[in-house]
């Protein structure tokens, strides 16, 4: 693997908007990171205005425009730092390290790929879908969310794919009523895939990994761990794999699901 050069850059907030229940998209001007970001990589962001909280927060990049030098993060307000992020205004500056980690890598020769995103897990798959489509790969997308209003990426995926993604909501307010594993299983049964990529809550990824294994399709998952350094130095973020404990930040966040010890 090539050495993935990291930068620490003061990103300027361009916009920060609510896109669903406790869901926000922040757009950042961060040209040096945007220029080199690969699908599935993340940034390690220092949320401004909370100096008593010393750690950075890792966020996947949802969308990225290398020419414009901008990137978008889809985030959920679920704790102290992500709540503070909702206060960010255009013009604010936040330091971020990136692009971090090992992203999605569909096997060479992939013709059809299945992407499954649960909750904000839909975000890091978007650039993957973009790249696959650009490479001529057929892409099916399944999105799961608690409720219709939380399907924050639905329109973006619809525009990208040229048709709506398959959708499941826990409360049945839109699309399939129930967990998104069901439509994913249906698709897996219906088509011949070379590649599955999944990001979302760990139980979802575990089930998808099992389904893919049963269907003998290569499968990748993006793992979340609490991170201190975000650059591979501190070993705070390890994931149990068949190769031992590996760092989610730089050996991942994307791992072959067959290597993860769930």
């Amino acid at each position: 693997m090539e050495h993935n050069q990291l930068v620490c850059e003061d990103a300027r907030v361009l916009a920060n908007e609510g896109v669903g229940p406790r869901l926000f998209v922040v757009s950042l001007e961060s040209p040096r990171i945007a220029a080199r970001l690969q699908p599935g990589q993340f940034v390690h962001l220092q949320v401004p205005g909370m100096p008593d909280h010393i750690l950075r927060r890792p966020f996947s990049v949802f969308d990225c425009d290398p020419q414009a030098g901008t990137l978008d993060i889809l985030y959920q307000d679920l704790g102290y730092g992500s709540h503070r992020m909702t206060d960010l205004c255009a013009g604010d500056v936040a330091s971020q390290i990136g692009p971090v980690g090992h992203g999605w890598q569909a096997p060479t020769g992939t013709e059809r790929a299945l992407l499954i995103g649960g909750g904000v897990g839909a975000a890091p798959l978007f650039l993957h879908a973009k790249a696959l489509l650009a490479a001529g790969v057929a892409v099916d997308v399944v999105l799961g969310a608690a409720t219709k209003a939380a399907l924050a990426t639905y329109d973006a995926y619809t525009a990208l794919l040229g048709h709506a993604p398959v959708v499941a909501t826990d409360d049945g307010s839109f699309g399939f009523s129930g967990f998104c594993t069901q439509p994913a299983a249906d698709l897996l049964a219906a088509h011949a895939y070379d590649h599955v990529a999944c990001c979302g809550p760990e139980p979802l990824m575990r089930i998808v990994a099992q389904m893919a294994a049963d269907a003998q399709v290569e499968c990748q998952v993006s793992m979340e761990r609490r991170m201190a350094c975000g650059v591979g130095a501190c070993l705070s973020c390890v994931v149990d794999t068949t190769d031992g404990k590996r760092r989610a930040c730089v050996d991942g966040p994307v791992f072959e699901s067959s290597k993860v010890v769930w």
Partner: protein, 305 residues
């Protein structure tokens, strides 16, 4: 503006400036090389290494606390052989002294690690970690009582002629007594502090945040305790000190030197700011310029009280 002499001598280890990194927070330099070329450092201190490597503890391994963090990494490391083949090999072409942080589950293991490394020219000094709170056997248990400190340090001393730094735990009643025991048993320098034993609880889930329940507290929160201990040990021993605990800025580093440290280590601050080591070096230099200090060694123990 006169050129400031930044070079210091830490118990036989010559450093071009007084700044190294705190073991376990900087890998062996490679991961931070995009931000701070490792050659800039006064020395690089590696993550703790044991003879055949350890798996470390279960996840979650960290928790954030007010102006600090807890970690319970548990000295995960790949063992001496990988240290040589990978980390030291990567470091070899770089112009920076290497301090290897040594761990063991038993006294013999400390000695074994040193023996396995001692004829390797790429190792310039050892830091004997008798203060890790995150392992069940060895670690901190060695560092909290005088007789075991004497035994481990004496045995390590017999195994090497290289500069040997002994790293102390702050979780003791009398740090000066422990430091004197380390000095008497052959330490060339003393480093302090390792982490304070702490705990975080998730009230909603009624569970500890860390899988291992307790972990080591580091970061700005512990700086007052670290400074006090450096000062107490400075008054108690003659060997030079490597001070650490919450250093974020050049001013923090100067405070440690005034309290008695010959060199300082930057740890948790690397996570906050990946150029922290560089910034600390520049900050010390700027302080010296502003204060008309021409040799950084003038600062050591310069506290007036």
């Amino acid at each position: 503006m006169a050129q400031v002499n930044m070079a210091v001598n830490l118990g036989g280890l010559r450093m071009k400036n007084p700044v190294t990194v705190a073991s376990g927070t900087f890998g062996a330099g490679q991961e931070y090389n995009d931000f701070v070329p490792v050659d800039e450092l006064g020395a690089v201190t590696t993550k703790g290494v044991s003879l055949h490597g350890w798996e470390g503890n279960a996840s979650p391994r960290i928790a954030e606390t007010p102006s600090g963090m807890l970690n319970s990494i548990g000295l995960q490391n790949p063992g001496v052989q990988v240290m040589k083949d990978d980390y030291l090999a990567w470091l070899a072409p770089h112009d920076v002294p290497v301090i290897v942080n040594v761990s063991g589950h038993s006294m013999q293991e400390y000695v074994d690690v040193i023996e396995a490394l001692d004829d390797d020219d790429r190792v310039d000094a050892y830091e004997i970690n008798i203060s890790c709170p995150n392992v069940d056997a060895g670690g901190m248990t060695f560092g909290t009582h005088v007789p075991s400190v004497e035994k481990v340090v004496g045995a390590c001393r017999a195994a090497t002629n290289k500069p040997m730094i002994v790293k102390l735990s702050p979780n003791v009643t009398d740090i000066a007594e422990i430091a004197r025991a380390a000095e008497a048993s052959g330490a060339d320098a003393i480093s302090l502090i390792n982490t304070l034993l702490g705990m975080a609880i998730d009230a909603k889930r009624r569970k500890p945040v860390l899988a291992r329940v307790v972990g080591g507290l580091s970061g700005p929160a512990v700086k007052p305790v670290a400074l006090r201990m450096v000062w107490e040990v400075h008054k108690a021993v003659k060997v030079p000190l490597l001070g650490m605990g919450g250093i974020v800025t050049g001013t923090d580093a100067v405070e440690f030197m005034l309290a008695g440290a010959t060199a300082v280590a930057v740890g948790t601050a690397n996570f906050m700011n990946p150029t922290a080591t560089h910034d600390v070096i520049e900050g010390i230099r700027r302080y010296c310029d502003d204060q008309g200090v021409t040799d950084v060694n003038e600062l050591i123990g310069g506290l007036q009280c």
